[in-house]
């Protein structure tokens, strides 16, 4: 779908008033007839980035498909807070099987639909970073390589939050988790470890890979809609800050997601069959310190004496991303 360009500079932020857009370009969330797929009453923490992200993603998917979506959800925060027996927040067909098999369950559902000739019904697999990148990785890679007709969404809050904030392969360097405390030989999570899921997805050369955050509502919905226009294996990696696990204020969720993008720590891009086709440019690069300070999981890097050397390494990582993906906007760049 083509996107209408709006010049917003006079507003001074990225807030997009829906009244400025054509009706069909407005966000799904702004509509009263949205599916409300993840309806209210769930038990998520105040300020939960994942609850926000999941609602946006699924409502967009429902709109794009005329409410023809089935979801396979991995064990994790989203599954636990959305289905406290005997209640459920889900207003679509939804199955939770195991921690490590959401991609495979989604594959099975897609196969069943294909065998039955019900090609209009679409499948979304979803889970957190732990369920996607660690324990579910073999199933995820299998789904990718078979090009199964599944959109898999990873809600990345950078640790095993549901079990008490343990480190996953998505936990950033230097971050404090319950088993990477700033004691002993390393201040928090070790540098040089971890997996870059979007790049791994890229390497599988599947039809669509994209990253997004809960800071850019339009972009997130657009990417889901784009994914739903396609068939085959598709992957969406969404950064969803976790106030509890990150030690941040619950009102800072969106702000932190935006800072993750503006520092370059979380590159936002789209790719087609292994080739990056679009990136979200950073208009004003923020130093990583602005992002790290509001999070207690990085508190050990500050204060007396702090770890300025570690902060520098983190900054170097952000700079590398910016170079690698070409994230800085020139004056001549148009707003995407």
């Amino acid at each position: 779908m083509s996107r209408q360009k709006i010049k917003l500079y006079q507003v001074g932020s990225f807030a997009v008033g829906n009244r400025l857009l054509d009706a069909d370009e407005r966000t799904v969330q702004a509509r009263s007839e949205r599916s409300n797929t993840l309806t209210s009453g769930h038990r998520a923490c105040q300020g939960c980035g994942e609850a926000l992200g999941a609602r946006y993603v699924l409502d967009a998917a429902m709109r794009a498909t005329g409410d023809q979506v089935i979801v396979a959800n991995a064990t994790g925060c989203l599954e636990v807070f959305s289905t406290p027996y005997p209640e459920s927040s889900w207003q679509l067909p939804w199955i939770h099987s195991l921690f490590g098999n959401a991609p495979a369950v989604a594959t099975g559902i897609a196969a069943a639909l294909k065998a039955k000739g019900r090609t209009g019904v679409r499948v979304v697999g979803q889970g957190g970073d732990g369920g996607t990148l660690d324990i579910g990785f073999a199933c995820l890679s299998g789904m990718f390589e078979r090009d199964d007709d599944v959109l898999y969404v990873c809600y990345d809050n950078e640790a095993y939050m549901n079990t008490g904030v343990q480190r996953s392969s998505a936990t950033p360097p230097a971050a404090r988790t319950a088993n990477t405390k700033p004691v002993g030989f390393e201040p928090g999570n070790v540098f040089g470890q971890g997996k870059n899921a979007p790049l791994i997805a890229l390497a599988h050369e599947i039809p669509y890979v994209a990253t997004a955050t809960v800071a850019d509502l339009h972009d997130l919905e657009h990417k889901v809609e784009r994914a739903m226009e396609l068939h085959g294996a598709r992957y969406l990696h969404v950064l969803v800050p976790c106030p509890l696990g990150w030690g941040a204020a619950s009102c800072d969720t969106i702000r932190l997601a935006r800072l993750a993008v503006e520092t370059g720590l979380f590159p936002v891009f789209e790719a087609d069959h292994g080739e990056v086709t679009a990136v979200s440019k950073i208009r004003r690069q923020a130093p990583v310190v602005e992002y790290l300070r509001p999070q207690r999981r990085f508190a050990h890097l500050f204060g007396e004496p702090g770890r300025p050397d570690v902060v520098e390494r983190i900054q170097a990582g952000a700079d590398r991303n910016i170079r690698r993906f070409g994230l800085l906007a020139d004056e001549t760049d148009e707003e995407e």
Binding site: N73, Y85, W90, P93, A111, A115, A138
Partner: protein
């Protein structure tokens, strides 16, 4: 139509006749010929509509089957040994969700040490997983049990595993009578799921259940399995009527109704046991055999009825509970609770060591002449010399030490 074919080919043909809609396949010896044959059938359009998924592991295989079944498709997979362990988490998930998946288990030993040959340790390790377990004594019965399994699974909304001895049955050429598509269609109607993932009527499946309800949910699984005991018998009866031969059911008796001594076993070894029974009967010995076709749910009443007149029962099984003893033996003792029967637990055939008629005759000779203590665990054809020598050795890996002794001709 009756033909001389490989067991795996026969099973693949039988499964195809049941019109599965999703097959997930991960290869492991000795099940490979089954999934290969099914792949050919799907690719050539002889089995359609059917999606054949070449998954990345057995865990993926069962998980995909879970998704497919939950979405209302008839789902099938096959595995053995290490594979059934790798999918263990998913097995419990499938039964807990009440999904009527059918799976072939080409019974094979579990490592370490790695061993690709037949015994029952794989299926036995999952006896508590909530799956119904059926054991085929021949390739004909394997064919028949698969057809009955789909019907059974969908009738009771529980997954069913059909066990057949790896290599011994899967790779054996035997005469098998395969039914026609019309016959199977008449016996097995299309899958009507109890609950299904469908945008037209959304449901949430797989919610977390806390202490206030978990016990009731679990007990329901048990109740359903126990109810299945009746359904299994009914389906076997209908099968006999529709296809003209007796197959399946809970237990099978061979010359045991008036036998003083009865051998109890599962799977293909029953053929050898029946040969031994005939030979002994010719010599006037009062002996018979009871085969257990349905191991889970445990047919306690039927087995008790089949054995309660016997003075001695010899349970000959192809697996055992390390640190305890016989598995089937324990279950049989439960069935004979309160009776004065002498029960002998005998373990044989581990890791593919053949159970021969000569061995069975020797065993029965020992039993009949009271040379075997009931209550003691007996290992058939075991080289205790090798074991003893290894026990006296304080270093080195056991398996490799024993293999070296064997190669050196030491016993």
């Amino acid at each position: 139509m009756r033909s001389q074919i490989e067991g795996s080919q026969a099973v693949a043909a039988a499964v195809a006749l049941c019109r599965p809609e999703v097959i997930s396949a991960y290869p492991i010896s000795p099940q490979t010929h089954i999934v290969e044959a099914l792949s050919d059938l799907v690719r050539t359009g002889r089995l359609e509509p059917c999606e054949y998924l070449m998954v990345e592991s057995e865990f993926g295989a069962m998980s995909a089957a879970i998704g497919a079944s939950a979405a209302g498709a008839r789902a099938y997979t096959a595995t053995a040994s290490q594979g059934i362990l790798y999918m263990a988490e998913a097995l419990y998930n499938a039964s807990g969700l009440g999904l009527p998946i059918v799976m072939t288990v080409a019974n094979r030993a579990i490592g370490s040490p790695i061993n690709i040959w037949n015994d029952h340790s794989d299926a036995m390790s999952q006896r508590d997983s909530g799956w119904i377990q059926l054991y085929a004594a021949s390739n004909q019965e394997a064919v028949d049990l698969h057809i009955q399994a789909f019907r059974l699974a969908e009738a009771v909304s529980l997954p069913v595993m059909v066990c057949m001895d790896g290599f011994v049955l899967t790779h054996a050429f035997e005469p098998v009578d395969l039914p026609t598509q019309e016959q199977v269609d008449a016996f097995l109607p299309p899958f009507e799921p109890r609950q299904v993932l469908d945008p037209a009527a959304p449901v949430t499946i797989g919610a977390m259940v806390g202490p206030e309800a978990f016990a009731e949910v679990k007990v329901l699984m048990h109740v359903k399995q126990m109810q299945a005991l009746d359904v299994i018998g009914e389906i076997a009866g209908e099968f006999a009527q529709a296809f003209g031969r007796s197959s399946g059911g809970l237990v099978r008796q061979y010359r045991s109704a008036d036998a003083d001594t009865v051998v109890v076993a599962l799977g293909s070894v029953l053929g050898t046991i029946e040969d031994a029974v005939d030979e002994l009967r010719d010599d006037g010995v009062s002996v018979g055999a009871v085969g257990i076709t349905c191991f889970r749910p445990w047919p306690l009443a039927e087995l008790r009825a089949a054995l309660d007149h016997a003075r001695r029962v010899v349970v000959l099984e192809k697996a055992f509970a390390v640190g305890l003893g016989g598995i089937v033996g324990q279950n049989v003792r439960l069935a004979l609770e309160g009776l004065p029967t002498r029960v002998h637990d005998v373990v044989g055939g581990l890791g593919g060591r053949p159970i021969t008629r000569a061995s069975v005759l020797r065993l029965l000779g020992d039993v009949l002449e009271d040379r075997l203590e009931p209550g003691a665990l007996t290992f058939l054809d075991l080289d205790w010399g090798l074991v003893q020598r290894e026990l006296e050795r304080p270093f080195g890996p056991h398996a490799e030490n024993i293999l070296r002794d064997l190669a050196a001709g030491l016993r």
